[in-house]
Amino acid sequence: MNTQLKKGILELCVLAVLDKKDCYGYELVNEISKDIEISDGTIYPILRRLSKEGYFTTYLQESTEGPPRKYYRLTELGKETREKLTDEWENFVEKVDNILKEADIDE
């Protein structure tokens, strides 16, 4: 799948997962890579950039299994952006579907 497209979609996925609940890095990476085929290493840069742009806040939480873990939480801006991107995605899928259907009929 085209990398630019994947990147945009990955951002949406990250926002969507965090919208449901706060996650720590490893957890988030697993959630996404179990469905979409990408190198785990590509997610951390996205997390960092979206964090810098104000879509999440981070906090440390004590863990029973070791040192505290860094959790990500969606901000208001993050929530709004997630809704916006979801709309764009659904729109996009609908349009592509239309084109494909028309192309099919023409054959």
Partner: protein
């Protein structure tokens, strides 16, 4: 050295052009990833394979950096104190040493631009006056010991000189602006510790 150690070293190496604070923050995420991954039973080899190439990863951080529109407000808690120190030092340095010299040069440039314009105008004025000699009132002084035509050409020559001067000043000022912007950017970069 362990495979994980090799991976982290490679990543650190590909991120060597990043600021120290930023690089350590990035590496911490991967340290944590390895730790939690191994706690949940994965091997180093598996984790390394899943993470992908350190070079690609570094490239993505670099790429992302250029896309950040707003500056990092949230994260850099490590490098803040260092940044403040550098900021104060730079302000002090700039005020004491740089400002005086900069204003001096700026003043000189302004003066030279005025001179360039002045020369051009003067040349035009002389040539025009010679042409218009018949209709110029008594109290305007025009050189009379030299043939009119010579004065006319002197005027044109002076104007040409003035215009060349102006063109030269244009490039000089442009260069000066570029240097100023670069210096300001360098200051900002240094404060942020990149």
């Amino acid at each position: 050295m362990s495979k994980k150690g090799e991976f982290m070293d490679a990543l650190r190496h590909y991120l060597s052009d990043f600021g120290n604070g930023e690089r350590e923050e990035i590496l911490y995420d991967y340290e944590e990833h390895f730790r939690i991954g191994m706690e949940s039973g994965k091997t180093e080899d598996e984790l390394i394979k899943e993470l992908g190439s350190p070079k690609d990863i570094a490239a993505q951080y670099r790429n992302a950096d250029e896309n950040v529109i707003t500056n990092s407000k949230v994260n850099s808690n490590h490098s803040t104190i260092g940044s403040v120190g550098i900021f104060i030092a730079l302000v002090f340095f700039n005020l004491v040493f740089v400002l005086g010299i900069y204003l001096g040069i700026l003043g000189a440039l302004i003066g030279m631009c005025c001179a360039a314009i002045g020369v051009s105008v003067a040349g035009i004025a002389v040539s025009v006056c010679i042409i218009l000699r018949p209709i110029i009132p008594e109290n305007v002084v025009i050189p009379s010991g030299i043939p009119d035509i010579s004065v006319f050409f002197v005027g044109i020559g002076t104007t040409a000189l003035g215009i060349l001067f102006c063109i030269g000043m244009f490039y000089l000022v442009k260069y000066f602006m570029v240097v100023t912007v670069k210096y300001v950017k360098w200051n900002i970069k240094t404060i942020k510790g990149e």
